[in-house]
């Protein structure tokens, strides 16, 4: 799996490509944690290229929210497919991080 990372309008955007599971989530976590350590405190995880998420992928989301909280940072998710949305819903993660239908909406939220 590759993870595409960009910064736009002061927001760090991570876009996992493929599956976000036990094999690929360590790389994703490392990338996002490095960005936060470099001073990024507005993070959007864009799932438009992600086919599948497992509980290991949820760990990345949870860790991101946990690390951002004391820094008064904000994170959001966007462009989830049906499988990802269902996993987020069942696990209760939609109460922790907001999920939006588009990158623009997610960026507006973290910038507000």
């Amino acid at each position: 799996m590759s993870i595409i990372a960009t910064t736009k309008n002061g927001v760090f955007i991570a876009m996992p490509d493929g599956r976000l599971d036990t094999n690929t989530s360590p790389e994703a976590e490392q990338l996002i944690m490095a960005a936060i350590e470099n001073g990024e405190n507005k993070i959007v995880i864009d799932f438009s290229k992600t086919d599948y998420i497992s509980s290991s992928g949820l760990r990345v989301i949870l860790k991101t929210a946990k690390v951002l909280k004391p820094k008064n940072g904000k994170a959001a998710l966007c462009n989830t497919n049906k499988q990802i949305h269902e996993v987020l819903e069942i696990s209760g993660f939609l109460g922790v991080l907001k999920s939006f239908d588009s990158l623009d909406e997610a960026m507006t939220f973290v910038n507000s």
């Binding site: 036990t22 599948y52 497992s54 949820l58 760990r59 049906k82 499988q83 269902e86």
Partner: protein, 587 residues
């Protein structure tokens, strides 16, 4: 004995009302709504009875006899429609209406002209009995009618009524289009669509009636409706008992007359399967598969209608597709409407002026309703076809059947030289398309086992599980949402087994699939996954905790939550160091 062949009415379907419907089959709509919508169905059905008038005149009936022929036909339509709305062992219990069949009318005219009306009546009686008997076997044919095949049936049925609708819509004569007809029909169609989409619920139920009135106004302004039609209406008696004006013929059995009528009626019954699928789907947002018991009862009622047509010497009726369009446009599918419409038809048969007035309404009005219905059925059919996973086998099955069916409809010259006695089957795009689909579906099952197995090892086990289940799902035409849930649940199980170090070697995953469930069995050396009631996680509190230990425990908990919520049944067991996790998914 009766229960064995014709089981009592049973309806255990849990329905969820679709967003675009106001009242579904079991709901009680206000009496005024039932009456208004019922009368609109009567309007459409009576407009279809013009074929009865035309057939009566074609076979040389006197005008008074044509009136009785029409009134008697309307009584039978009323009885059949009323019966369909009731919850009996011989009826669908849905809003399904009956209308004279154009194809049946053509063959009726031919047989009556060559062999006499008695021979036509005898053939229709026999056909009705056979359709009733055949209806009982339909509930056993679930495997022959998966959603893709019923979808093909709907698309081809829609295609087959396009000609009927568009020729009336455009007033097509040879190659010339009647612009007045287009204006009338466009007014009606525009009104139906507009009121269906934008009007509030109270007005929406009047969509077809408003459209018809507007169409009639436009027709009058264009000079297409007026004095001539009103004179014919006025020439009819105010009240006339149907059976006095038309002498029921004595049925006779003539083989040369019986065979073509029997074949046509069996094909007409197949058309009614499509009607049944559409009305079933229209009543349930959670529709998953065809309710073949309901379809069987619908066809029984269809057969009873045909039997009554034979006993009264009238043209065989079939279920009305135009009524489906009205049901969707109005949003009212409660069965009481069928009862109201049936009673109204029987009462109206006593008043020839009313039935003649409606019969003489401009044909573009009916054309607009048929065009609306065809459009709706195209989309419904396409939705059904795409509701299941598709691989190359299914692509070929769907594609080839659609090409065969549509080519016969679009290119009637293809079957111009087919022997007359084979024409009803080989010349019917719907029959040939559906038959091709059924044969190919059965053929392409060769090599597809009900159960498949895979060995999982290494760090690609999760992605390999997803690929395996998607292949199985595509082979068997499974619902994509069920395969997705199964893939996620199985993937979670593997992750948790590795995370908790419960698995000590290679795992095997078996997938068993039938139309009603998917069963995954994961066997492996090691300890069983504990399936305990999951405590509610406080994710917000976790965000404030020091360190990541809480995070890891939470993820294990979430794994269990996902497995238990995605699967409909989970069992975990261990015997002598080997464990088994079984996940059952309702399909």
């Amino acid at each position: 004995m009766l229960n064995k062949f014709f089981p009592d009415f049973e309806d255990n379907v849990k329905r969820e009302k679709p967003r675009d419907m106001l009242y579904i089959v079991d709901e009680q709509a206000p009496k005024s709504t039932v009456i208004i919508v019922g009368l609109q169905h009567v309007l459409i059905l009576l407009m279809g009875t013009i074929v009865v008038v035309m057939t009566g005149r074609t076979i040389g009936m006197e005008e008074s006899e044509v009136r009785g022929f029409l009134s008697t036909s309307i009584v039978v339509l009323g009885v059949a429609t009323l019966l369909q709305g009731l919850r009996t062992r011989f009826s669908s219990g849905h809003l399904v209406t009956h209308t004279p069949s154009y194809v049946s009318a053509s063959i009726f005219a031919i047989v009556a002209t060559n062999f006499g009306i008695g021979a036509a009546a005898g053939a229709i009686i026999l056909s009705g009995v056979i359709v009733i008997l055949l209806s009982r076997f339909l509930s056993k044919l679930q495997v022959a009618f998966p959603p893709e095949i019923t979808g093909i049936l709907l698309v081809l049925l829609a295609l087959s009524i396009v000609e009927k609708g568009v020729s009336r819509y455009t007033g097509l004569h040879g190659s010339s289009i009647d612009l007045n007809a287009v204006m009338i029909a466009s007014t009606v169609l525009g009104a139906i669509v507009g009121f269906s989409v934008w009007a509030n619920n109270k007005v929406r139920v009047l969509a077809v009636l408003i459209g018809t009135v507007l169409g009639l106004i436009v027709a009058t302004l264009l000079g297409e409706y007026g004095g001539e039609q009103l004179v014919e209406v006025a020439s009819q008696p105010l009240i006339s008992f149907p059976f006095f004006a038309y002498q029921t013929p004595t049925p006779t059995l003539v083989l040369a007359a019986t065979i073509p009528i029997l074949i046509i009626e069996i094909i007409s019954a197949i058309y009614s399967i499509g009607t049944g699928v559409v009305i079933d789907k229209m009543n349930n947002a959670q529709w998953r598969r065809t309710d073949m018991s309901m379809i069987g009862r619908l066809i029984s009622c269809h057969g009873i209608g045909v039997l009554l047509n034979g006993l009264t010497g009238t043209i065989p009726s079939g279920t009305s597709t135009a009524s489906l369009g009205l049901t969707h446009a109005s949003g009212v599918a409660t069965r009481n409407v069928a009862v109201a419409a049936g009673i109204a038809l029987i009462v109206i048969s006593l008043f020839p002026q009313i039935s003649t007035f409606i019969t003489l309404l401009p044909q573009p009005v009916l054309g607009a309703v048929v065009v609306y219905t065809a459009g709706y059925m195209f989309v419904s059919g396409a939705q059904l076809i795409m509701s299941r996973m598709i691989n190359s086998r299914r692509k070929f099955m769907i594609g080839i059947s659609m090409v065969i069916g549509s080519s016969i409809i679009l290119m009637p010259e293809l079957t111009a030289n087919v022997p007359q006695n084979l024409k009803p089957i080989l010349g019917s795009g719907l029959s040939m398309g559906v038959l091709t689909a059924i044969v190919l579906n059965l053929l392409f099952r060769i090599g597809v086992a009900q159960q498949s197995e895979i060995t999982l090892e290494g760090n690609k086990a999760g992605s390999r599980t997803t690929e395996f289940l998607e292949e199985c799902g595509a082979d068997r035409g499974a619902r994509p949402d069920v395969i997705s849930r199964a893939s996620t649940a199985a993937g979670e199980a593997l992750e948790e087994l590795n995370r908790a170090k419960l698995i000590l070697g290679t795992a095997k995953l078996k997938a068993y699939f039938d139309e009603y469930r998917l069963i995954l069995t994961l066997t492996y050396p090691g300890k069983k996954i504990p399936i305990e009631p999951q405590k509610q996680l406080d994710l917000d509190a976790l965000l404030d905790e020091e360190g990541d230990a809480g995070l890891d425990a939470a993820i294990s908990n979430i794994s269990g939550v996902l497995i238990k919520n995605l699967a409909d049944k989970v069992t975990s067991s261990e015997v002598s160091g080997n464990s088994e996790l079984k996940l059952v998914f309702a399909h």
